[in-house]
């Protein structure tokens, strides 16, 4: 009973004061949402969020790197949204992580790699059948050399 009473007393929690976005830790869903709202209403991000060496996204260059041809309309539509999300990513710059090791994946189990021995793939023909343009034994593509 005691813990239930505690729970009910604690809900709803008092609102926290809005702090500026570049502050340290966010500790709850509400802070996250309120900071998000702060972002939306005040556009309180500046280039400073990126730190000194990080440039904001250059969409045409990114699109070329990612090999996605964007129309001018798409560039116009995506640029503010991507910038908004990248700005939001920037909050991690403010967290002190200097003594923390990175985790490559969920640390639930070690590697279970099999021996590095080549094995023929038994469904090769089905895989080949999915190729849009195929001339035995080659996959056909347009010319590879470009103007550069």
């Amino acid at each position: 009973m005691g813990s239930r009473a505690l729970l009910l007393l604690k809900l709803p929690a008092p609102a926290r004061p809005l702090s500026s976005f570049n502050n340290r830790k966010l500790s709850s869903a509400s802070e996250l949402l309120s900071r998000y709202n702060c972002y939306r209403t005040r556009r309180c991000f500046t280039k400073a969020t990126y730190g000194s060496s990080l440039e904001p996204p250059n969409l045409p260059r990114l699109a070329e790197t990612a090999r996605i041809s964007l129309t001018p309309d798409e560039v116009e539509e995506f640029a503010p949204k991507i910038r908004q999300v990248i700005d939001w990513f920037g909050q991690l710059q403010a967290v002190d992580l200097s003594s923390v090791d990175p985790a490559i994946r969920a640390d639930t189990e070690g590697e279970n790699l099999r021996d590095d021995i080549p094995q023929p793939y038994e469904k090769r023909e089905a895989a080949v059948a999915a190729i849009p343009s195929y001339e035995e034994p080659y996959i056909k593509v347009p010319k590879v050399l470009n103007k550069e």
Binding site: R4, L8, F78, L92, A103, N112
Partner: protein, 545 residues
């Protein structure tokens, strides 16, 4: 039309009283609905009544029902509800034939597998050799994989019948299923609302009883949030429990295949069927898969306090402002119910909780930019007409990918750019370490943790479509669990007063790595003893059939 199964709304606001809880006799499952011929009375073990899989098995083997009759009843309901719901991208034309073959086997007295006659929906980013697998993307329109995913192969080997491929946000990137290139799926509780996502088709199909169970995938909550929105049980296994071979990769360090069902027991039985090491996935665990069946014991008396001594931590950061009041009430009722079952419930804090959301989106978009480079129009999928190779790549991808996928690839490309790796990807990995440590500490002090599965119940179609950060914020309850690789079970625990008949709310139970057994035990007892709610959408309860 909607009168028969309206949820008792007042109940979601108050903690349950001991006196209101009586032994449970009727299950949530459709077997209690007149539209289904499944004979529940034939199952003698009361504790297993809620499992559709076990009920079907018993009905078939005791000859109360033929597989053909069973399949026809599901297909009839599917045909009636599908025009409104649009859960499936492809429906198998082979289902009746498989049922007839199963009937022949049973008639001859041959052995049948543990999933014999169980109709399964499979999320369309999980490969099947006998049906298209599009991942919800135009770039794979009409694509047919040369093999079955390991999870699908294992289900089929145990007798399951795949009904069809379910709708999803393109490649799993979204939280509403509006991001599918082909159609928008509706929530069976209110067709003007989203079913959640990205496994929205799989969740809605089980909720509408179009199939018995289904497979989804969960990179940041894509099984658990739609389970909550659709009022079904969703199980996200430990990372590595189920092989990812044949699951279209989105973020490989986070992706897992998960299960939907109308009962905890069904998701546990399905999980057992698909789990285990696979030589085609080096990250699949070599641990033995335990038999979960002993967890589904009879425990329908609250008075016996069947969970006595179990330590439950309620995550403080998940019940703060920004979470709907109806959701908070439902979760505090769930906590009270656990106390009545004998658990000790205390608050626990995960200090780095809110950092998980940006860290998750950095990792997921970065890994997706790498994983989705395989869709280049050369070896499979849509190929644009071009006279130069780079143009062929760029145009094939431009024509094949939808806007959300393009944006995530571009964000990931930015985060992985030379010189930026340390600022984004590496930092996100460091945050992942913090989150893993804080979960470990919380799970050393508690047997399970609980939280909402989402900050709200299902919202309207179109409501968050053009606001990426609003959409991402909805994933706050679930992404941390993927970063830590832990198992989590979402099961319906109450309703909020919205929509024509109330909207279901799910509670999330998080366990230690590879300890799905505890979650299934707690979830099963919780489900068996929760009184006063029926999680059957009106369109099914009223027999839209």
């Amino acid at each position: 039309m909607l009168s028969t199964l309206q949820p008792p709304r007042s109940l979601s606001r108050f903690p349950f009283r001991l006196s209101s809880i009586k032994p449970r006799h009727i299950t949530f499952a459709v077997s209690s609905s007149s539209s289904l011929p499944v004979a529940t009375s034939a199952v003698t073990d009361q504790s297993l009544q809620s499992s559709q899989i076990l009920t079907i098995r018993h009905s078939l083997l005791s000859r109360h029902l033929t597989a053909t009759q069973l399949v026809e009843s599901y297909l009839t309901r599917l045909r009636l509800t599908e025009p409104q719901l649009k859960c499936f991208l492809h429906i198998s034309d082979n289902v009746l034939k498989q049922a007839q073959e199963l009937d022949d086997k049973i008639n001859k007295g041959e052995d049948v597998g543990p999933l014999a006659g169980v109709l399964v929906g499979v999320k369309d980013n999980i490969c099947t050799s006998d049906m298209p697998s599009t991942g919800g993307s135009r770039i794979l329109e009409n694509y047919r994989a040369p093999y079955d995913a390991t999870a699908v192969r294992r289900m089929k080997e145990k007798g399951a019948i795949v009904v069809g491929k379910t709708n999803l946000d393109e490649f799993g990137m979204g939280s509403t299923t509006e991001g599918s290139a082909f159609q928008v799926t509706s929530n069976p509780w209110d067709v003007s609302r989203v079913p959640g996502g990205s496994s929205g088709g799989s969740a809605a199909a089980v909720s509408a009883r179009q199939c018995v169970v289904s497979l989804g995938s969960d990179t940041g909550g894509s099984v658990r949030q739609p389970a909550s929105f659709c009022g079904v049980v969703g199980l996200k296994p430990t990372y590595g429990r189920v092989s990812r071979f044949g699951l279209m990769a989105y973020a490989s360090s986070l992706d897992v295949i998960g299960c939907f069902g109308t009962s905890v027991a069904d998701t546990g039985i399905l999980l057992h069927a698909i789990s285990g090491h696979d030589r085609y996935d080096a990250t699949s665990s070599i641990r033995e898969v335990p038999n979960f069946t002993p967890q589904f014991t009879s425990a329908n008396l609250v008075e016996s306090r069947p969970l006595k001594g179990l330590r439950v931590g309620i995550i403080r950061e998940t019940l703060d402002d920004g979470v709907d009041n109806g959701v908070k009430s439902a979760i505090s009722c769930a906590a009270s119910h656990l106390e009545e079952l004998g658990c000790t419930v205390t608050e626990v804090s995960l200090p780095s909780f809110s950092l998980g959301l940006p860290a998750y989106y950095i990792l997921a978009s970065s890994e997706s930019s790498s994983n989705l480079s395989r869709y280049d129009g050369v070896r499979y999928g849509k190929q644009a007409v071009a006279d130069e190779l780079n143009m062929l790549y760029g145009d094939s991808r431009a024509q094949g990918f939808g806007p959300e996928v393009k944006m995530r690839i571009l964000m990931g490309t930015y985060a992985l750019s030379a010189g930026y790796y340390d600022a984004y990807y590496k930092r996100a990995q460091q945050v992942r370490t913090l989150i893993q440590k804080s979960f470990k500490a919380a799970l050393d002090a508690n047997d399970i943790l609980i939280s909402p599965a989402a900050p709200s119940a299902a919202y309207k179609i179109g409501e968050k479509k053009n606001d990426p950060l609003a959409m991402y914020a909805g994933d706050i309850m679930t992404v941390n669990v993927n970063l830590a690789g832990l198992p989590a079970l979402v099961l319906p625990c109450g309703f909020v007063e919205e929509g024509p008949a109330g909207l279901p709310v799910g509670v999330q139970m998080i366990g230690a790595a590879f300890d799905e057994a505890t979650l299934l035990k707690v979830g099963h007892i919780f489900e068996q003893t929760l009184q006063g709610f029926k999680f059957v959408p009106p369109m099914v309860a009223d027999g839209a059939s």
